[in-house]
Point group: C2
Chain length 576, copies 2
């Protein structure tokens, strides 16, 4: 049976199943969610109002046996940035939705009665909408437990926590993972959009259906070559041992680890929060140093971090989260950061945005740099309860800067700049400035080439070649984000000549088509241009493709460098 568009209208609480329009047939993941948002959402609408739509889509390869293909894409107009927004996450739902034949799930409208909350349930026949009270106000972990009890352990869960219910613009959307923990469509406040539509969760029915494969043998052959490329890659091996947090020492050494609200490029406490320390701690406490966020992942960069008593504290403990509360807030204590990470998972709020927001709040004097215990208290007692201070921080770094009159506010398009200082690693600054989504390292991860030596080498401190680097990676990323693949396939794709052809062969075998590498590049370009057109129609201009002025005004240690990429160079990004 052909995949379908599942469409829900929350204004009249109706749902229907539609044929996939011809133009959307070849799209999946981000390519599809961005195309639908661009086609159906008025770019100038209020992101929390009735004219915005929330779109979920599995990737082109989700639901198949392809390694690392289980990312769920979510798109909408962002209440944080005002741009188009796509965020994707692991967990079990992408593969389940794909098996159910859901090409995309589009949620539109707002209920007239603001006092009521709803849960959606997706099975192969469509979506049912039911008023919900039991889990309203619950944290994400309790939502998952409650729905497991109600619908069975195998149910897929897409949920928002209290942050999303309160429409905080840093609220994320969480997805249940194979161990009943959480993965997050983290950035851009998509959880607030789901909250505005009064949807607390979407449950996804388990199914025995399988995704149809046009050429099964060819698919298997390509799949094996692809998985081998991933497993053999040396970066992926480091990720498997230390997680993404392997980067703390690497980026600190490079002088690009933003510290104390972006006033230095190195953190004296880096060893205490490093991947190596984390690994030792996990092993000593009987945690799991390797763990997969979705079935079929062969990299397994996730981990389970236990507390001193050997009890689960957090998982998916990422470099960017650890950096944000660690170096940027000067908290040199992994247990405090793990506690905070767990609370943020439960509240359903973006750990990058919130970590950076705390850094700005510390600069404003709301709490002291380094006070990890107070961070945890504020998360629980202020953000969790929606106090005025909680709302200020829960709306992100820009909100904190506004509230307290701080001028050193590291955001682009109002989204917090993550864990790589653009003064010391200039390629990533191009990505922050020009991304269609606000500052986001994943949109064009130049760290690969600037620092890790993947895909060649571009000196991080030089202005040369950075625009081209960011452009090529942003194009490739947009395409990868459409496949349902985890972005970490990029390391192998950039350096192993067997990887990308195998990926394309899998797509061709899945659909019985004949894509070439050029087609994939064209797809990436087309997605970026679609997203850019949405933003221009929303009123964005080249002047929004800029870093905050303090990056130009304040040199950062140890390299004593400022941001010195010209506006003209930034604007040349779009010359393709």
């Amino acid at each position: 049976m052909a995949d379908k568009i599942f469409r829900v209208n929350m204004s009249d609480l109706s749902a229907k199943v539609e044929a996939v329009p011809e133009a959307w047939m070849g799209l999946g993941g981000r390519g599809l969610t961005s195309t639908i948002v661009a086609a159906e959402v008025k770019p100038t609408c209020h992101a929390l109002g009735k004219h915005n739509k929330l779109v979920f889509a599995p990737g082109l390869l989700s639901g198949t046996a392809a390694a690392n293909s289980g990312r769920l894409s979510c798109g909408a107009k962002s209440p944080l940035t005002g741009t188009i927004k796509e965020a994707n996450a692991g967990g079990t739902s992408a593969q389940m939705l794909a098996k159910l034949g859901v090409k995309a799930l589009i949620i539109e409208g707002l209920p007239a009665d603001e006092s009521k909350w709803y849960g959606l349930h997706v099975d192969e026949n469509g979506v049912t909408i039911q008023e919900e009270s039991e889990v309203i106000g619950m944290g994400n972990f309790a939502v998952v437990q409650t729905l497991n009890k109600r619908l069975g352990d195998k149910v897929g869960v897409i949920t928002i926590g209290p942050a999303g219910e309160m429409k905080m613009t840093a609220a994320n959307i969480s997805v249940k993972d194979p161990d009943n923990h959480l993965r997050s469509n983290g950035r851009g406040g998509l959880g607030a959009v789901m909250g505005s539509k009064k949807i607390k969760f979407i449950s996804v029915a388990p199914t025995d259906r399988k995704v149809a494969i046009a050429e099964p043998e060819a698919f298997k052959t390509a799949g094996r070559a692809f998985a081998k490329a991933l497993v053999d890659n040396p970066i992926n091996k480091a990720l498997a041992q230390y997680g993404t947090n392997v980067l703390v020492n690497i980026i600190n050494e490079a002088g690009g680890l933003p510290t104390k609200n972006f006033t230095s490029g190195q953190f004296a406490g880096h060893e205490a929060i490093s991947g190596e320390t984390m690994y030792d701690t996990i092993v000593a406490r009987d945690g799991k140093p390797r763990h997969n966020c979705h079935q079929g992942c062969v990299i397994q960069c996730s981990q389970i971090y236990n507390d001193l008593k050997g009890q689960y504290k957090t998982s998916g403990f990422e470099y960017e989260s650890i950096w944000a509360l660690g170096a940027d807030c000067c908290v040199d204590n992994l247990d405090h950061i793990a506690e905070a990470d767990n609370i943020m998972d439960d509240l359903g709020i973006d750990s990058i945005e919130i970590g950076v927001a705390f850094g700005v709040a510390m600069e404003a004097g709301v709490l002291k740099f380094g006070d990890g215990a107070e961070v945890c208290r504020i998360l629980k007692e202020e953000i969790g309860k929606g106090t005025p201070l909680g709302r200020i921080i829960g709306n992100g770094a820009g909100s904190v800067g506004l509230a307290f009159g701080v001028t050193r506010v590291p955001v682009v398009k109002n989204q917090a700049i993550p864990a790589y200082d653009p003064r010391a690693i200039k390629g990533i600054g191009i990505t922050y400035a020009t991304s269609t989504q606000g500052a986001d390292h994943t949109m064009g991860y130049t760290i690969a080439t600037n620092i890790l030596g993947v895909g060649g080498k571009v000196d991080p401190l030089s202005k040369e070649g950075q625009v081209e680097l960011s452009r090529n990676l942003q194009i490739a990323t947009a395409a990868i984000d459409s496949t349902g693949m985890c972005l970490f396939i990029a390391f192998a794709a950039l350096d192993d000549p067997a990887c990308l052809p195998a990926l394309i062969d899998m797509i061709n075998a899945r659909f019985g088509i004949k894509l070439t590498a050029d087609d994939v590049t064209s797809l990436g370009m087309s997605i970026l241009k679609t997203e850019r057109a949405f933003n221009l129609a929303a009123g964005f201009t080249n002047e929004d493709d800029r870093l905050p002025e303090f990056f130009q005004d304040e040199a950062i240690a140890p390299h004593n460098v400022v941001w010195d990429i010209s506006d003209e160079a930034l604007d040349s990004f779009w010359n393709f």
Copy 2:
């Protein structure tokens, strides 16, 4: 002696006096402040950072005997809107600065040491900068009293209250009036810019100097004709009796009195807060129904409103402030509103922005509609003390909407929409949308022609003729704002053929020049285009010249009308 530019650099705490560049010679007031900001401030800079500048200028006729010429213009990039900003106010300083030969006072830079505060003192030799501690943290009334004691009763005072010290983006700049009360450069957060520069006050030395008049006899003759036109005007007579608050009943009757956060066009409690009720109350309590905000005003729309015990409570008790806390917040008690008005004067915060912010906060459930006592408590205990809730509200209506996820947020370019609903009075909606300054009724007061029948009649509910009306008034206003004249000369200027020629004759006699009416129109156009160019360079587009979507989506009683002016019509505003 020729007028000079007085320039202060807060980065190195230096001051100098410069000759006026040729290009600025013919400019004053808004024409001059906007020209200087456009020439010297990078449009994309952070408004609270070191690259912004704060510019004060008396008008072309300030300091002369011309009636109603005592407005002080202040300009900068606005931290509230991100646009160029001009706000002007009465009080004694404009005339004093003009007599001292100050063409403009330009304040640039920020002190390196953020812990210190300063006071500036202006006399005919220039500006002295002194570290200040005594009045830091004080409300505006105490600042005035302290400086009167320190420098004598005749000193001019330009000051910020706690809101400006805390860099709240609704903070205004207050100017001492002839009775030691306060007038405000109200809109756009200019007080936060002054606070960012760590300047608590500017004192202005009294002087015996007089403004030079090139043709004294011609000036006197024109001045008499001009004053007569003002005094004879029937609208001005109504303003003299009831103050601007005469409008409550008029606008309520027109169905354009935004009520309960812009959900209705009429307020059941309008009588209790009307100009007529206010007049009776003032008379009964031995207040002053007529009062001038600056020397030489012949309209005297101000008043002194006493409390039940006959003690001073507030003055300059304006329609827009009374509407904001009254109809928009459903507070039908003038004493609560007067108390709030007095606190806002003391805190130094824009009563329109804050009133509208309270309306949004009431919709969010922070406090109840109609709870005037709680409004006063929040003003004193939260905004005054800079608590998180105080900062949310003190940063204006947009900030409250963001914090609490409200979508009915009446702002344009993040500045609160004032007291006239654009659905029922469409001309003013054109002004809100297209003004270079964010929503601001004073920028092109179509109420004159839409409602009061001044300058002809344009049906407020029709789409016809509104763009032309707003355009003509915005051009005329930009010119009037350059003269130092109060905007209320416009009623006479529109309807009395003697008024405008007399005004031009006064300018010509003052400078010995030969301006024509066409020159004045050209000046107005040129100012608007200069301001618009700044905004475009800051990244604004036509998409920012729009009203919030709820005005299109929600019809308003009693006329059951929505905002239906097309985007194309709005964009045609700039066709001149």
